[in-house]
Amino acid sequence: MSTGTALRAEQDRGRKASQNREKWAQGRTYISAAVILIWCLAPAYWMVVTAFREVGFTYDTSLLPTHVTLDNFITAFDTSFGNRFGQALINSIFIGVTVTVISLLIGVFAAYALARLNFRFKYLVLGFILGASMFPGVALITPLFQLFTNIGWMGTYQALIIPNISFVLPLTVYTMTSFFREMPWELEESARVDGCTQGQAFRKVIMPLAAPAIFTTAILAFISSWNEFLIASQLSSDATQPVTVAIASFAGAQPNQIPYTAIMAAGTIVTIPLVILVLVFQRKIVAGLTAGAVK
């Protein structure tokens, strides 16, 4: 009996200590999280505050919103002066989704081959893929412009989509190859023993496990295509221009005037839905994929 109580007291003490430790660790996590929030959001906050300011008070430095107005958002979407921000948003989404889907698809193929198959010239292929992200992007524009002019692609969607695919492919392939290397491929083999084809085994066993990696790669691909400006600024037409080009076309009411407030409003408009979209997708997709994995 007495030994029992002593033991329990001992356990209690231990639990308390570990609870304290846990609390302390939890506290530290929250402090860190707060620091991250401030670091990431403070400049963005300034963007949003500026987006809501009247043009006449663009340079106001009070931290809280002052001279609040919705005009900048209205201006951003106003098409009467030739702004195509709404159309550009649609273009950007279309281009981004297409680029992401295609580059992920062919990237998965390539990564699977690189990680799983044994073949000659593997290093040659890897070097080739990496070499594609070593040339200064600014110097690609002139040759590309001439190429696309020659084949009549100027101003078309494919003239924007295909270069973007090439820009994100090296990263996509490398990321996924490195993750595929870490997958438990034994499972795939045991699935094949159970009668799955190689394709089925890959789809049903490996893909769900690779979901975080694939999802991360998808975000990376989407955002880099979303951010692309240099190529688009010269190869797009009024009808196909993405948001980055549309924002660069924002002009003040007067020559020389920089429309900071409208630019910030546009930045706000394109950023916030993107972040929300990613969050929603993250839950849906990952939940779906992992649910499949449980069988």
Partner: protein, 345 residues
């Protein structure tokens, strides 16, 4: 970015991929490689074609043009005439910082020409790369570790981390220019009067801060994905064995996340070496913030062939850096870890 995985299969941290057949090769082995090779070429073809069309073709055509002289002015007609073959002159001019002399031949490029900036731009590019990639790696790792924990409000943090990266660069650069203006919010907030874009080190720091802010999320996301691939059981087992937090980090987290980390660092480095928009908009390249890519675009406006030579030089510099990375720092994604027993120590 993913949330919890389903039931995670236990996997020993020491074995990476499949056991690769490295034993004595029989005839069947060769056949297997051959058939896998056929598969591999089908799987790789789309990637290779896409890259060949949009990147390799322009690179080759730029390299070809780099051996041509830029158009010169015919003093009589006042019109430009094609320059003709240049041999390696364009390359020599950049590396030796030589410019055309008025009487023919070359002279050392005077300050105020692009040629005079080659080495300083190279140094600046490396400075930016080393500092920003270091900051981004450390910060990104830390952010990823926090985001991998379970706590209330985790989604909020994950969303927040995305924000800097999701803002288009065109807006980011303007935003930081706005923040770093003399009467801007940065000086105002800290009651300082720093000439952010008007003196050497503040200008460099402005670029570094803006770039670190913008691209740390890229690192954080990739590292987070790497962290999520580590089965929780491995940590549990280590805890039972009495490993301290530092030991767990060093012996489990770091080696297991290394492949993802190295890919992230490698690609960030390649990107940072080609950094362009932030310094271009913030400082216009003044105060020793001209990077190689800024030099390229300024030169394109003065003559494409010399710019093509500079691009090729940049390409070679980046190539060497990547080579060093892969050779000495182990950024090798297909390292045959299982069979040769090296790689993950």
């Amino acid at each position: 970015m993913a949330t919890e995985l389903g039931p995670t299969p236990v996997k020993s941290p020491a074995s990476g991929g499949t056991p690769v057949h490295h034993g004595p090769k029989g005839v069947g082995e060769d056949n297997k490689i051959l058939s896998q090779g056929k598969w591999a070429s089908w799987l790789l073809a789309p990637t290779v074609i896409a890259l060949a069309m949009v990147i390799v073709y322009p690179i080759i055509s730029a390299i070809v043009m780099s051996f041509q002289k830029d158009a010169g002015l015919d003093p009589v007609t006042g019109l430009f005439t094609a320059g003709g073959p240049a041999g390696v002159q364009n390359y020599v001019n950049w590396i030796a910082q030589q410019c055309a002399a008025p009487g023919g031949g070359t002279v050392a490029c005077p300050p105020g020409t692009l040629g005079a900036q080659f080495w300083s731009a190279t140094a600046t590019t490396f400075l930016f790369t080393v500092i920003t990639v270091t900051f981004e790696t450390i910060l990104g790792f830390w952010m990823a570790m926090i985001m991998a924990r379970t706590f209330k409000g985790r989604s909020l943090v994950r969303a927040a981390v995305l924000v800097p990266w999701a803002i288009p660069t065109a807006v980011t650069a303007q935003l930081w220019l706005f923040i770093f203006a003399f009467e801007g919010i940065a000086n105002n907030l800290f009651n300082a009067s720093i000439l952010w874009t008007g003196s050497e080190w503040p200008a460099k720091w402005a670029v570094i801060i803006a770039d670190t802010w913008k691209t740390t999320p890229f690192m954080a996301l990739l590292i987070l994905a790497g962290l999520q691939m580590i089965p929780a059981e491995v940590y549990e087992a280590a805890k039972v064995d009495g490993a301290t937090a530092w030991q767990r980090f060093r012996l489990i987290t770091l080696p297991l996340v290394k492949p993802a980390l190295m890919v992230a660092v490698l690609f960030r480095t390649l990107d940072a070496l080609r950094m362009f928009d932030l310094p271009y908009i913030l400082t216009g390249g003044a105060n020793n913030t001209t990077t190689l890519s800024i030099l390229v675009i300024n030169q394109i406006r003065q003559g494409f062939n010399a710019a093509a030579a500079l691009s090729t030089i940049t390409f070679i510099i980046i190539f060497i850096v990547a080579f060093i990375f892969v050779r000495f720092l182990g950024a090798n994604v297909v390292e045959q870890s299982g069979a040769t027993g090296k790689g993950k120590k």
